[in-house]
Symmetry: C2
């Protein structure tokens, strides 16, 4: 009777999920044995092949699927990392995500995705959710991030390995992965300079972005070393914006402005590709031929850059590599439970397409 009652205890599970106990019951062994066999734990050495087969067979029959929640609770590991992006619709974000995802898959991790929409409170809430779920690591894609994320350093980050892509936090144990903005910008002007351009317009990024300053520094240093004159009238700044996709309109308008002022320039360096596409449109609409009458160069090498007409010359950020690199940093930190932050600065690459050429021999 007593045993019967005990058996009744866990009978049909409304849930429909199969537990290790169900297998134990049907196979005639204890849950411990089943666990040992299914995990091929050290103790499984002593278990006869017959028993093992039996258990495996029943597990297969019942369609057993181990509950990772329970397993994680016990093992304190869940093979999950949190992935916070600051705007998933940013074309710059996509290849990074791809790189991250591919690297995570190989490392048998999976990611909890959070899009902060460039909003601080949303970022904070997501961060809290991820921490409550006990993610083992955190990757933040901070491209075009306008809000401050110092809380990453403040908060609790001492304990959980974190990497930021596109930013470098001065405080805290946060690793970072960035492109070498200064070198990239230098490559851009250098490309135009070596083609013969001397009157170059610049659409700089919004001041709030770190990239803006870094890239400008690269341009200035090149100008100084070669004696290239930077005409202040040809230097415009993109307005602060929370949406990278607005760069197109901004680039369009700023270029219109340059043309309206009848300023003379044979080439234009845009802050990024989307801005460059906007600039190209303004030039084309105004009857200025790209690249014959004006060369245009972008930055990033996002997907639309190769699809435009003419295809855009640009400075490529190794986005997939950056994603993979961040995963590497976080995965290593988890494996070795180290906390010292590492900072990677990756090299950009000049991609010459058809939006740049030598300046026309005689004026515009």
């Amino acid at each position: 009777m007593a045993s019967a009652g005990a058996q009744m205890k866990r009978q049909s599970r409304s849930n429909g999920t199969v537990t290790i106990r169900d297998i134990a019951g049907k196979a005639g062994f204890s849950p411990s044995t089943v666990s040992i066999v299914l995990n091929n734990a050290p103790l499984a050495r002593y278990i006869p092949a017959e028993t093992k087969e039996r258990i495996h067979k029943v597990a297969r029959q019942l369609g057993y699927r181990p509950n990772q929640l329970a397993r994680s609770l016990r093992s304190q590991r869940n093979h999950t990392i949190g992935l916070i992006v600051f705007n998933i619709t940013d074309p710059f974000c996509t290849p990074i995500l791809h790189g991250i995802e591919t690297a995570l898959y190989q490392a048998s991790y999976i990611s909890l995705l959070a899009d902060a929409h460039n909003d601080r409170s949303r970022f904070e809430r997501y961060l809290e959710m991820l921490l409550e779920r006990r993610v083992e690591g955190l990757i933040v894609v901070a491209n075009w991030l306008v809000v401050q994320i110092d809380l990453l350093a403040d908060l609790e980050n001492r304990s959980i390995p974190t990497a930021v892509i596109g930013r470098k936090l001065s405080l805290g144990a946060v690793s970072s992965v960035m492109v070498d903005n200064e070198a990239g910008a230098r490559m851009a002007v250098e490309h135009l300079y070596s083609l013969g351009h001397r009157e170059i317009a610049f659409l700089r990024g919004p001041k709030v972005l770190v990239d803006t300053g870094q890239r400008w520094r690269g341009i200035r240093s090149f100008a100084q070393s070669t004696g290239l004159a930077l005409d202040p009238k040809l230097i415009l700044d993109l307005p602060k914006s929370f949406d990278p996709n607005e760069g197109f309109d901004a680039g369009f308008r700023l270029t219109e402005e340059l043309l309206r002022r009848k300023l003379h320039f044979t080439a234009l360096v845009a802050f990024d590709d989307v801005t460059a596409l906007g600039a190209m449109r303004a030039l084309t609409v105004a009857g200025v031929k790209v690249p014959q009458q004006c060369s245009v160069i972008g930055f990033d090498d996002v997907a639309p850059a190769a699809l435009s007409f003419p295809p855009l010359t640009t400075i490529r950020q190794p986005m997939e590599t950056m994603g993979a690199c961040a995963v590497g940093l976080v995965a290593d930190a988890i494996a070795e439970s180290q906390t010292l932050p590492l900072h990677r600065k990756l090299a950009p690459e000049l991609v010459v397409r058809q939006s740049t050429t030598k300046p026309a021999t005689e004026s515009q």
Copy 2:
């Protein structure tokens, strides 16, 4: 072997995480009481404000963060849905993800992201991982999906609410969200027809995609009802491909082919925007002006469509809405534990930009 920490019943936790017991110990109450207070459970009615404050204060001091793994194990809910995409670099995918993410956030869900890379084994492994993590629902973004995903229907789907975006499975309890491809394609030809075009070229999609057949049906039905002649020589098919981004090259080459054969057409309907951009490039390179000498229309309205020159006229899929819709279906199914599959077909929208116009009065 066993460290001192392990022997001491429950003292400092190397982990660093604070448990409900730690609070209980420090506040001088039992874990049960702490749990009741922190969750404001029914029984908390009887607990004096003083006790509550004390417990809350200690929780705050210690930086307590409830372990959702433990909570989920107990409650059988984890507020997580699995999100499988078939290629995150597809520009079509991005706005859908955005729509999904926004809707999930409002519903207090978070998503486990999986990119199947259009690979069946990878899809299967991810599916397994998600099920083991006991996701409450599943959303599959099946755009440009070449592999079969019948396993969704087969497998275990009876139990977990699932929605597919961009496909409709005949079997199983899988809900679906699709654009009305037939209506969309009809709108595209109708737009060109009403502008006066009669010689129209078509770049159809790969045969393996369901969308291809549906869109072609829309075009045929329009042609029949108006008497528009469809010249077989002007109808080409995109090759099978596992990467939607290859559509650009394919569109380029097929259009080159049309031009090389000296075929006459005043407008071109592309399978999707990326293909259309490829076609526009081929036309432009060949000296055919778009839209003056040849109109081009796409499908989808992905981001690059608005950035091209000329900006692309296209049939817009309500991608964000589709994402939100899928979330709605899944969330409702979870809440009401219903299993009957629902199928939503959303209306497309004609977006007239500048790649289409009236045909030139006299031939090409």
